[in-house]
């Protein structure tokens, strides 16, 4: 029994569900996907994973090597797609002790901006007036 045979990015799980037909079946009865798996699918479709592809992720991981980030941090960045320093802050562990200065953080954010597509705009729920125009809204 191998508890950890490899970590998966959110994209890879979404891709697995899509390959079994999650996105095609609007009735949700025909595709061989259970209700609990659809809940995971619904969650992932609201994260940056739904605009990513395998090439994007591999490319990004390769380019990240320059910044000497931990694997867990790269995974986290891919899943969350931070768009500003303040969003990147909770992901990096002890950046100042590892020599990751402000310039490096800006470099990481530029790489994110360039390589990872922006996340979907999550629809406002109910009577919430604040429609979030995320950085996904490129004018």
């Amino acid at each position: 029994m191998k508890a950890n045979a490899g970590t998966l990015t959110n994209f890879e799980v979404l891709d697995l569900l899509n390959s079994r037909g999650a996105s095609n079946d609007t009735t949700r009865v025909i595709a061989p996907i259970s209700t609990s798996e659809y809940k995971v699918y619904d969650y992932l479709m609201e994260t940056p994973a739904c605009t990513q592809t395998q090439e994007i992720i591999t490319n990004f991981s390769d380019q990240c090597k320059y910044f000497k980030l931990a694997k867990a941090e790269i995974l986290n960045i891919i899943n969350i797609r931070p768009s500003s320093t303040v969003n990147l802050a909770p992901i990096l562990e002890e950046p100042s002790e590892r020599g990751i200065d402000k310039k490096a953080k800006e470099g990481i954010l530029k790489l994110v901006e360039a390589l990872l597509p922006p996340p979907p705009i999550v629809e406002a729920r109910g009577e919430n007036e604040e429609e979030e125009t995320e950085e996904g809204e490129q004018s």
Binding site: M1, V13, E37, V40, V86, N87
Partner: protein
């Protein structure tokens, strides 16, 4: 937050499924056994694939065929330090409860909510308390108008199944993720969108 785990288990395929192709029947039995269940390694989300199947013996007195299967599953098991986006579910005097849709037992206890804060009875919902963060002159309310709340995983625990429970106790949660929202970039996403790029306090 997801990883692959390889397991070996003995699977019983009921006689009604024996007309199906073997892999389909075994996958069906595996799904029934593992899907949406919490194991010691986390919450099982999906069957990734079957690596090998052995056996197929029919034990005496049983119409079903028993197989020894090696397979891989996708498990939800966040690592400590991971930042995850969730939605608000409910709050009480102990803290917040957040949900991911497929997993609803994420708790942010009161000490991990940014201070200064206060807890007040929710004017919209009589049974709930709501938490308010006071930053400078502004007050930020945490309730279900927050679109997305980001938290960082502090701990994952697997409480043992209780033998006795009070009548009105919450349904037992076999896997509990404890998170914090007390850091830059954490908490409701709307808190940070209003701010211009903040200079890092850590530097």
């Amino acid at each position: 937050m997801f990883c692959l785990s390889e397991l070996e288990d003995t699977v019983r395929v009921p006689p009604s499924d024996l007309n199906l192709p073997l892999e389909v029947a075994i996958k069906k039995a595996l799904q029934k056994l593992f899907l949406d269940k919490v194991l010691s390694i986390g919450l099982c989300v999906s069957i990734y694939g079957i690596k090998s199947i052995e056996g197929g013996f029919v034990l005496p007195g049983d119409g079903a065929a028993t197989y020894k299967v090696v397979f891989r599953i996708v498990v939800f098991r966040p690592f400590v330090g991971e930042v995850i986006a969730a939605k608000f579910k409910e709050s009480d005097s102990n803290g917040l409860r957040l949900t991911l849709g497929f997993f609803e037992d994420v708790y942010v206890p009161a000490p991990l909510i940014p201070t200064p804060n206060r807890c007040e009875p929710d004017p919209y919902n009589r049974n709930q308390m709501r938490w308010v963060w006071k930053y400078g002159d502004d007050e930020f309310i945490i309730d279900d108008s927050c679109q997305q709340i980001k938290f960082r995983v502090e701990n994952i625990s697997y409480p043992p199944v209780p033998t006795e429970r009070a009548e009105d106790a919450k349904p037992f949660a076999p896997m509990v993720v404890t998170g914090t929202i007390d850091d830059d970039g954490l908490g409701p996403v709307s808190w940070w969108e209003a701010c211009a790029p903040i200079s890092d306090d850590e530097d």
